[in-house]
Symmetry: none
DNA sequence: CAGTTTTTCCCATGATATCCCATAAGAACC
DNA sequence: GGTTCTTATGGGATATCATGGGAAAAACTG
């Protein structure tokens, strides 16, 4: 159950989108034919994962009847209450609720981005914007680190016997 | 028996509301065709669950804490005594008593919010307000509680800055 | 006990989701 | 390079769901 790479699929007039076949294959281990989708806390996109993933989270939050913990309960409501359990249709598509489409700014296409145990669903524009930002960030970070990183390993003698 | 997602349904002039079909399906395991509804202690909303859940809660409160703990006993009495056992009509609706409608400030629409083993019933306005508040809190709470800790390190966005 | 109100059941309807099939586009395979 | 299989996408038919209204049944009241 591991998602990688990204795929762009169309959202049809009825709000249906095909979940990439690769992802569906990964999802096949799951007992439930569908995914759970919810709004990301940090990014303007949706997050999706196997039902089991959320169930485990739910268990941790409400397991013991110690459901009498304000903070846990609030968190459970915020996460679980905003998550949708979306079954696949016979073609492997899901029907995204209006509220989720709006949240992510998804109109007629969606980008599925695998990030390990779950995947993100973006509007193409937002995804591109985010990706570019991250690249720029990575570039400058690399440049900064690279200046140091390149010298040290190449001139072991200059660093005088640190090495392995 | 697991509730997630949220659905908004209308309350008609007679005080009837459809329980979301998804919830009814989850409830189908229950022997009793209806739900138990009571006022939440901490939130301005109603809580609902399968009959069995309340029974278990009842057992737990009385056995674990015995007759010693006045506070728990009071809690049990408050919950069990004020709970309504609401049957479905043939269309899968329930008839919410006036007192509950008033408590939750529900007028002509109700939001059903699944949170694991039970679900909440809110007035649309109150739910939206609460949800927005919690979303903000959830971010930090998630990190602190470690509820999402398992995923956090794996999230690119968790490490990178905010993309929004 | 009759009049009156409330509750329960049943049916009608529009909206929505689900299923099923058809086609196209692409990838994998010979 | 051509063929075959998988995947994505679209549309139409069908079933399900939410919702409203009305009639029958029960409860309540004077």
């Amino acid at each position: 159950m591991r998602f990688i790479a990204n795929y762009t699929n169309k959202v049809d007039r009825k709000g249906r989108v095909s979940v990439p076949a690769r992802f569906r294959t990964a999802l096949a281990e799951s007992a439930w034919p569908g995914i759970v989708v919810y709004e990301s806390f940090k990014l303007p996109c949706l997050e999706a994962s196997a039902r089991e993933y959320i169930d485990a989270l739910s268990d941790r939050l409400t397991s013991d009847f110690g459901a009498f913990d304000d903070e846990k309960e609030a968190l459970a409501a915020a996460i679980l209450g905003a998550a949708f359990d979306l079954p696949f249709d016979s073609e492997g598509r899901i029907l995204l609720p209006q509220s989720l489409l709006e949240f992510a700014g998804i109109d007629d296409a969606a980008v599925f981005v695998g990030v390990g145990e779950k995947f993100l669903i973006w509007s193409p524009e937002a995804w591109e914007r985010y990706r570019d930002e991250q690249r720029a960030r990575a570039r400058s970070a690399a440049a900064r680190l690279g200046a140091l990183g390149r010298q040290a390993p190449r001139h072991p003698e200059a660093a005088a016997g640190d090495g392995a």
